[in-house]
């Protein structure tokens, strides 16, 4: 997906709307900070997530981090490929490295997320 059309959280998740679902992954900045990803744990399909709730776990050679639900919704799909090929998170964070897709999400919550420009400024300030 094109990073410029995505929305972002302060915890470095990205969100993109696609065919009525919200695709969620971690940003290029996040994967670079983490270093080589060695383990990804995804939520279960059908799981209801509240905004800010722990949704997935990502571990790298440096650290283990929680991935939070950027908005409330129901897990409609998960990227099982990324659990086996964890380097997709490093190689293609906005594409084949996506984590999960949410259905029944709240569009108002989506609108509250940072834009690409806002997120870039946020990262530069860190």
């Amino acid at each position: 997906m094109n990073p410029e059309s995505l929305r972002y959280t302060m915890d470095h998740e990205w969100v993109g709307e696609q065919n009525g679902l919200c695709v969620v992954g971690i940003t290029d900045y996040a994967q670079e900070q983490l270093g080589d990803v060695t383990y990804v744990e995804l939520p279960k399909v059908g799981q209801r997530l509240k905004r800010g709730e722990e949704a997935a776990v990502v571990e790298s050679v440096k650290a283990a981090s929680d991935v939070y639900a950027p908005l409330s919704g129901e897990v409609a799909e998960i990227n099982e490929q990324v659990e086996n090929e964890t380097d997709l998170v490093n190689r293609d964070p906005y594409g084949r490295g996506w984590f999960f897709k949410l259905s029944n999400y709240d569009s108002a919550e989506y609108a509250e997320l940072m834009t690409y420009t806002a997120y870039r400024a946020f990262c530069q300030g860190r």
Binding site: D36, T38, Y39, E59, V61, K62
Partner: protein
């Protein structure tokens, strides 16, 4: 070097069994292996050479500098080993403490437990100590379970949350979650200390406790710890002190006096018992008045008849069999007696002085993570080096080539490209200077020949490891 299995030659033996002096008996065939176990067949000399060579490749504080931040890898005095090896301690059967009838024959051990717990309580500014927890995180769990026992006893069913600053010791959230609490993280200010306003905001009636590490993992003393205690106690939340960094303040300032209700001690850090190769550790705890009724039991008490064991009616139960890693407590006791109350503050004095000396020498070449002075460890950031393609990991590996153990890297997560250096009080100025010289030389290389650092280490038996493969492609099978 070869594995011992690769040295195996059919029929070679290291031991000859004594002639049988009892009648031979048939073993039930169900108890026997279908085939002999695949053990290496080697001579005694093969075994001696193999393990001697392995030991020579070992790295420990007895041979070299070990500046692993957050870990307090200080020298373990040999007098402590001598005391722990005393047959009166070393050969004691742990069950001697489990029945009243045996109490007279283990009075010395019970006295040592009593005295060590008493000394720890005194150092912590607490009411009583308990040696049961086996390691730091086990002590944290004990402490959080004590907080849970307190709220359960008071009927505080609404207290479900533990607040933990992002600069707390890394295991705190896991311990709190394991004890059944929800964890809420409190961010740090740019100065590296807990954001007090954010804490006050989060400190509602559902908060059961606040876990703090002080100095925190940024190596900084939390300036508002008194106010935190006041605010927490106002909503009946208890305050946990993580003793991971006690080396910075031991004998100088007491967590109990700061308002903490419960704490753990890493005897393997502050009180110099061995660790870094599996320990075993000890995460002894101490509690203030509020948590006294719930301490793990049984407890050693002193009476006119000597030292006896007593059960506590409201005790949270046992955290471990017997008294934890007893011989570790013996070593810590020896250390405490060796320093004495008057000598102990010099531990903190020198630990803090040493860290600041290294900080002063290195903060020009590497970016200081925070302004001002530090406590017992200093945090540098390799961001400037990272811009030239050399990351904290490369610097750590380059240090291995120069004969040093690497400092802690990439922790705490709040500091980019973090290098966390803790010299402890036991290192000399000369050793610290050698390490700083190596760090400065590496910083220079980053400017003139960064590529030479990517391959490090090149002088060790094992070159740069593939960390991704090591994490993903685990193969523990021996070759047999």
């Amino acid at each position: 070097m070869e594995l011992i299995y690769e040295k195996s030659r059919s029929g070679r033996r290291a031991v000859a069994l004594e002639p049988l002096d009892v009648p031979e008996a048939e073993l039930n065939s169900e108890l026997c292996r279908p085939a002999a176990a695949p053990l290496p067949e080697v001579s005694e000399l093969d075994v001696v050479r193999h393990f001697t060579l392995l030991s020579q490749r070992n790295y420990g504080v007895d041979s070299q500098f070990y500046p692993l931040g957050s870990c307090t890898m200080k020298y373990n005095p040999k007098v402590s080993e001598l005391v722990a090896a005393h047959p009166g301690f070393a050969t004691l059967h742990p069950h001697l403490s489990s029945a009243k009838v045996y109490e007279p024959v283990c009075q010395g051990a019970l006295e040592l437990v009593f005295e060590t717990e008493r000394m720890l309580a005194e150092i912590g500014g607490m009411q009583a100590g308990c040696l049961q927890p086996m390691a730091g995180a086990h002590g944290e769990l004990a402490g959080v379970l004590l907080i849970a026992a307190y709220h359960r006893d008071k009927g505080n069913t609404h207290k479900r949350t533990i607040l933990i600053p992002d600069s707390a010791h890394g295991t705190n959230p896991a311990s709190a979650a394991m004890a059944g609490f929800e964890v809420r993280e409190i961010p740090s200010t740019p100065a590296g200390v807990m954001d007090f306003d954010k804490l006050v905001e989060a400190l509602d009636d559902t908060v059961a406790g606040v876990m703090m590490t002080c100095p925190n993992t940024h190596g900084l003393f939390e300036p508002q710890v008194h106010e935190v205690a006041e605010r927490a106690h106002a909503v009946d939340a208890l305050l946990y002190y993580d003793g991971a960094n006690l080396n910075a303040i031991v004998g100088k300032c007491r967590p109990g006096d700061l308002g903490f209700d419960v704490m753990h001690f890493n005897l393997h850090k502050t009180f110099a018992t061995p660790h870094g190769m599996g320990g075993p550790g000890s995460g002894a705890i101490a509690v203030g008045e509020r948590l006294l009724p719930y301490l793990p039991g049984p407890r050693v008490v002193k009476s006119a008849d000597g030292y006896t064991l007593e059960t506590i009616p409201k005790s949270m139960g046992r955290m471990a069999a017997f008294f934890g890693n007893f011989l570790i407590a013996v070593r810590a006791y020896a250390f405490l007696r060796y320093y004495g109350g008057d000598g102990l503050p010099s531990v903190a004095d020198n630990a803090v002085l040493n860290a600041n000396y290294m900080f002063a020498r290195l903060r020009g070449a590497y970016q200081a993570a925070f302004e001002g002075t530090c406590m017992h460890e200093c945090l540098l950031s390799a961001v400037r080096q990272a811009d030239k393609g050399i990351h904290a990991l490369d610097i750590a590996k380059a240090l291995l080539d120069r004969g040093f153990h690497a400092p802690t890297i990439y922790f705490p997560l709040t500091v980019k490209e973090c290098l966390m250096i803790e010299p402890t009080e036991t290192e000399s100025k000369e050793t610290m200077d050698l390490f700083c010289d190596a760090m400065l030389e590496i910083a220079q290389l980053v400017d003139v020949d960064p590529d030479s650092l990517h391959a490090a280490p090149v002088t060790l038996p094992v070159s740069r490891l593939d960390e991704v493969r090591a994490a993903k492609d685990l193969n523990c099978a021996c070759l047999a």
